[in-house]
């Protein structure tokens, strides 16, 4: 598995080195979208409006949203692209099996995704004046969120294998993801708060907002719940993906898009 991660990391870096403008373009577009929203909100609220902690929470949510978009979308977009160009079957010919290869690809892509999103976060902070209190303990809930994101990625990857063209669904799914990541379930009460623990990625996202935007202390119990949530969704994602691979082989759906 380590060999797989290392070679996927190398592949990712080579692609990045050869096509740096793609990443730069993503960085600029994603930042500009948030800045546009920010300017719009400030226009509605009036020039004297101060967003304070809410802006900080929003920045955390937005950056986490784009990070999850990459983590989730890489697999399904990648599968569709590889099926179109004709490398998918070669990947499936690996004795490691597609789940291990794509898991390695996800883990190897983590560094690029995190660096890109760090760039987006710093740019947004500079443009909007948002202030986030970085703490190393934030990496723990971030990992929990990423586990859940990869789980969802594998579920969408399963759909891409079986239904082939799911671009429209993926576009719509961005908004579902926005709801999951940006809704502050951690500040609600009762049933809604409990629901937040069951939905993918939400406990980790909530804890990140607590840590980075609200300056709260790290709560190990909350992290435990977030981690459990992430692991359950990752396991579910891998299981569904495995079933989809079996079904695709049964129905002869690999290749030939």
């Amino acid at each position: 598995m380590l060999r797989l991660i290392a070679i996927e990391f190398k592949r990712g870096l080579l692609m990045l080195r050869r096509y740096p403008l793609e990443m730069l373009g993503q960085l600029v577009v994603i930042t500009m979208i948030f800045y546009g929203l920010f300017l719009g909100a400030r226009y509605i609220a009036g020039p004297a409006a101060q967003f304070g902690g809410r802006l900080d929470a929003l920045v955390v949510g937005y950056v986490l949203w784009t990070l999850s978009l990459f983590a989730i979308g890489d697999l399904s977009w990648g599968l569709m692209e590889e099926a179109r160009t004709g490398t998918l079957e070669q990947v499936f010919l690996s004795p490691f099996g597609p789940a291990q290869v794509y898991l390695a690809r996800n883990l190897a892509g983590l560094l690029t995704t995190v660096v890109l999103n760090l760039g987006i976060m710093l740019l947004i902070m500079r443009l909007t004046g948002a202030r986030l209190e970085f703490t190393w303990s934030a990496l723990a809930p971030l990992a929990a969120v990423l586990l859940g994101a990869y789980g969802l990625g594998f579920i969408l990857g399963a759909l891409a294998l079986l239904f082939k063209r799911i671009q429209s669904f993926l576009n719509l799914f961005q908004f579902v993801l926005m709801f999951l990541i940006m809704t502050p379930f951690e500040q609600s009460q009762g049933l809604l708060r409990n629901l937040g623990f069951l939905l993918p990625m939400t406990p980790g996202a909530g804890q990140l907002r607590d840590l980075l935007a609200r300056g709260q202390a790290f709560d190990p119990q909350l992290f435990g719940l977030g981690l459990l949530n992430g692991l359950v969704y990752l396991a579910l994602g891998l299981w569904i993906f495995g079933r989809a691979v079996g079904a695709a082989k049964q129905r002869g759906l690999l290749g030939g898009y």
């Binding site: 060999r3 797989l4 290392a6 070679i7 190398k10 592949r11 080579l14 692609m15 050869r18 096509y19 160009t85 004709g86 490398t87 079957e89 070669q90 990947v91 499936f92 010919l93 690996s94 004795p95 490691f96 099996g97 290869v101 079996g246 082989k249 049964q250 129905r251 002869g252 690999l254 290749g255 030939g256």
Partner: protein, 307 residues
């Protein structure tokens, strides 16, 4: 031991209420150093069979053994197999040839260092060393195909599946790929080759299997199959008009002058008497009738269709 044993493979697809029996009881066997041309019209079940052998389509019943191991139960059986699939790029265009070989080598279970070492060897062997650091998308179609074959060999598989390896290549590139296939087979590689280019199949294969509507309708040694469909007749061409006397003597020997050619159907040992009659006219050609694979293929496929 055979490197490939596929027995009684069956596959049915259901789509929009229709049931298609894509493969109905196909069996194939292949030994080291042997090239088996797997031929059939479009939709006959070739690709489905190949993909069942490669573990990419699960058969409804029947079995596949690659060097004794079942790729549908034991994923590491795929270590025995290399494949270049038709209609696919097979390699990453944004990587260089050496990077592609290294990447797929690791995916097939080699260490990165071993894959790189093997990659340099293969690029050297296939005359691609000069291009090892060029982006694959900048290579010619022929070079890309050679690279795809090199990539499929990185982990030294015992069986190589080549699906339409010369399709879309210009004459020179196709010749190079054919030469590669010959050399690989001579070095002991077992190759399962599918192609619509029957002249390519005839030139490269030791054995031929023809599939139609999911069933193998003929399987034999290529030479034996061609001989079976070749006639006993000889054709002789001379660069001169035949006079009446010669025509009569030829007819007495069982040779028939037809449109500038002489067709002889008698016993082979009497051919010399026919040639004696023609002496000293300048001979252009003396040839025994020999079917080519195209004729054999069409005849068999049509016979089956009429049956």
């Amino acid at each position: 031991m055979s490197v490939l044993v596929a027995e009684n493979l069956q596959k049915t697809f259901r789509s929009r209420g229709k049931t298609v029996h894509a493969v109905a009881g196909v069996g194939l066997r292949l030994d080291s150093g042997e090239v088996l041309a797997f031929l059939g019209p479009n939709g006959a079940g070739k690709t489905t069979t190949i993909k069942m052998i490669a573990g990419l389509i699960r058969p409804d019943s029947g079995s596949v053994r690659l060097d004794g191991r079942d790729p549908h139960r034991d994923p590491w059986a795929l270590r025995r197999l290399g494949a270049v699939l038709e209609g696919n790029r097979n390699v990453y265009w944004r990587l260089t040839p050496l990077e592609n070989i290294e990447y797929f080598g690791v995916l097939r279970g080699l260490s990165a260092a071993a894959a790189r070492r093997r990659g340099r060897e293969l690029l050297e062997r296939f005359d691609l060393s000069e291009k090892q650091n060029a982006l694959t998308q900048q290579l010619s179609r022929g070079m890309q195909q050679k690279l795809a074959i090199a990539v499929s060999l990185v982990h030294e598989p015992v069986l190589l599946l080549l699906d339409e390896p010369t399709l879309g290549l210009d004459v020179e590139a196709a010749e190079t790929v054919k030469q590669m296939v010959r050399e690989l087979a001579a070095a002991g590689q077992a190759i399962l080759l599918t192609t619509h280019q029957l002249d390519v199949a005839q030139q490269l294969s030791d054995r031929v299997a023809i599939i139609r509507e999911g069933k193998i309708i003929a399987e034999d040694n290529t030479e034996a199959l061609l001989a079976r469909f070749s006639g006993e007749q000889y054709e002789i061409e001379v660069a001169a008009e035949l006079d009446d006397e010669r025509r009569n003597r030829l007819r007495q020997l069982g040779a028939e002058p037809l449109n500038g050619r002489i067709v002889y159907l008698g016993p082979p040992q009497n051919l010399w008497q026919v040639l004696e009659v023609l002496r000293p006219l300048p001979l252009v050609r003396v040839e025994k009738d020999r079917a080519d694979l195209t004729e054999v293929f069409l005849k068999l496929v049509r016979e089956e269709a009429d049956a």
